[in-house]
């Protein structure tokens, strides 16, 4: 008699198997009752279709621009391969798809769209920001409470919802022209250059902000928890006197603590 764990493992293996000979499907079907009009295998296949369909749809919801760029049929086929190869390790379906961008980068048939992995990364960051914790914007006045002797110890924070992203392609524009509400020209010159940006949520407002290289360098130093004194000494972040107020004012800096 097959125990509960082994039975469940057999069902799972049959759902995700890629072997066209279907050995796992045949193995679990030994344990499944046939019914009028349906063989044991057909009963199991109902679940295979439903489960793969659910996961493919979930990816389509997280990566709508990727789906738009590839077309539904191509996207769904690619997503199905990802689903078969990539176990979901969380009970929360919203955590599924973190490695989809990497998978796309290695997926030969999608190589024609070299910007696609970066677009997918952007969409994943968007998805994470959408569900991130709520946060109150930083009060710029709070910085003046830090005594002059302590300013070097300040460690700034990005918003908790924020992900920094850079690409050799104008992915923020590719993203924008593929939104349903976009009414303008959808042509994009890939040679117009790459981008530095941050995906985040300002209260309930989802944002993809882009900026120049000095801001990018500064915000990366912030993300790495580099203290203000060290930034000033090393000059890694350029002209801090203008960068800092600009970043605070835009909301890209959400708070600070002292090292």
């Amino acid at each position: 008699m097959t125990g509960l764990h082994d039975m469940q493992a057999m069902v799972r293996d049959a759902v995700f198997e890629t072997d066209t000979q279907n050995p796992a499907l045949r193995a679990i079907s030994e344990h499944i009752e046939p019914s009028e009009g349906m063989s044991s295998e057909e009963h199991v296949l109902v679940y295979r279709r439903a489960i793969l369909g659910t996961l493919v749809r979930a990816l389509g919801n997280i990566f709508p621009v990727g789906k738009q760029l590839l077309g539904e049929q191509f996207f769904d086929g690619m997503a199905r391969r990802y689903v078969q190869e990539t176990p979901s390790r969380s009970s929360d379906l919203a955590n599924y798809g973190a490695s989809f961008s990497e998978f796309i980068a290695g997926f030969g048939p999608a190589a024609e769209l070299p910007y696609l992995p970066d677009v997918a990364r952007l969409e994943w960051y968007w998805h994470r920001a959408f569900h991130a914790a709520d946060e109150v914007a930083m009060d710029p006045g709070s910085l003046s409470a830090v005594s002059a002797g302590d300013t070097g110890r300040i460690i700034f924070h990005l918003p908790v919802s924020a992900s920094l992203i850079s690409s050799d392609f104008p992915i923020h524009r590719i993203w924008a022209v593929n939104q349903q509400e976009w009414a303008g020209d959808t042509a994009i010159d890939l040679d117009e250059g790459g981008m530095y940006g941050m995906v985040w949520r300002q209260q309930y407002d989802m944002r993809i902000d882009t900026f120049d290289e000095p801001v990018w360098t500064f915000l990366n130093a912030v993300a790495a928890r580099t203290c203000f004194g060290k930034m000033s000494e090393s000059g890694i972040a350029g002209d801090l006197d203008t960068l800092l107020p600009r970043c605070v004012q835009r909301g890209w800096i959400a708070g600070f603590d002292l090292a």
Partner: protein
């Protein structure tokens, strides 16, 4: 927010879906309660929780989950339970429910409700998980009968016997899904009325209604249609047998305008009212 805490829900409620947040918040429709899908609010913050709290300020809410995987041979996911407990503390739901099913094995999640072989081993495992979850959450769970599309040769009791035993072993309550029992009965060839009459009266705290889809050789539970006539008949029989149990209209695919859901809820309410009138 606490005014509904000790008041059980009553009447015909509606499953809350994100497409309807705005219309509900703006128009405050006359709906006795809303049910939400637990895992949709497991994020740390953002709009979903914001809207849920707005709705909760005006309506009782129940939490309905698909992620507890109570039937899995794996041990229970403590992180899941902690999130659920935190959400329940924030939303103060009238009921917390999940399914007679498993969705994971060896920590790999399939994100679909898979049926169990109804064996003594599966029962002992399921009961231990329900007890553990109830102890952790500090509240009773409602367990829902699933729609199923396969049965195991190893099964040696009926689903309703399994549920009856489960209630005895864990003191849990039942969420009776009338559509699911119709779908499973058709797929497996049992009589839904026999199932209904085996339910421990007094333990069914909530009822679900939804629409299925007809495939070639079986019925598939898509929650994408109006409730079908034979399910309404079975619902009528259910209410006559169990009394006016709070009933929920579920719709998850091809979600229609809110008015359609109000319409369906109105039909269920009429059945509930006819019982009140007869009483």
């Amino acid at each position: 927010m606490s005014r509904f805490i000790d008041k059980p829900v009553a009447g015909a409620g509606i499953g809350l879906r994100s497409t309807h947040y705005q219309t509900i918040i703006e128009n405050q429709p006359k709906v006795p309660w809303f049910e939400v899908l637990t895992e949709n609010y497991f994020g740390d913050g953002g709009l979903p929780l914001h809207f849920l709290e707005k709705v909760r300020a005006d309506y009782p809410v129940t939490l309905h989950g698909v992620g507890m995987s109570l039937g899995s041979a794996d041990s229970l996911d403590r992180d899941y339970l902690a999130r659920l407990k935190a959400l329940a503390a924030r939303i103060e739901p009238t009921y917390v429910s999940d399914h007679l099913a498993w969705i994971s094995v060896d920590s790999r999640f399939v994100h679909d409700l898979l049926p169990l072989p109804y064996t003594e081993e599966a029962l002992a495992n399921f009961a231990a998980h329900v007890r553990e979850a109830q102890d952790f959450l500090g509240r009773r769970l409602l367990i829902e009968n699933p729609s199923s599309y396969m049965g195991y040769k190893e099964t040696d009791m009926t689903e309703w016997e399994f549920l009856q035993e489960l209630v005895v072993l864990t003191d849990c309550d039942i969420l009776f899904d009338v559509n699911n029992v119709y779908v499973s009965g058709t797929n497996h060839g049992f009589d839904p009325i026999e199932y209904l009459h085996a339910l421990p009266k007094g333990r069914v705290k909530e009822i679900h209604l939804a629409g299925y889809e007809e495939q070639n050789n079986y019925l598939f539970d898509t929650h994408g249609y109006r409730v079908h006539p034979p399910v309404w008949d079975l619902y009528q029989a259910t209410i006559e047998y169990l009394g006016p149990i709070p009933t929920l209209i579920e719709w998850d695919n091809d979600i229609p305008p809110f008015e359609t859901l109000l319409d369906e809820a109105g039909l269920a309410q009429r059945v509930l009212d006819s019982m009140d009138a007869a009483a």
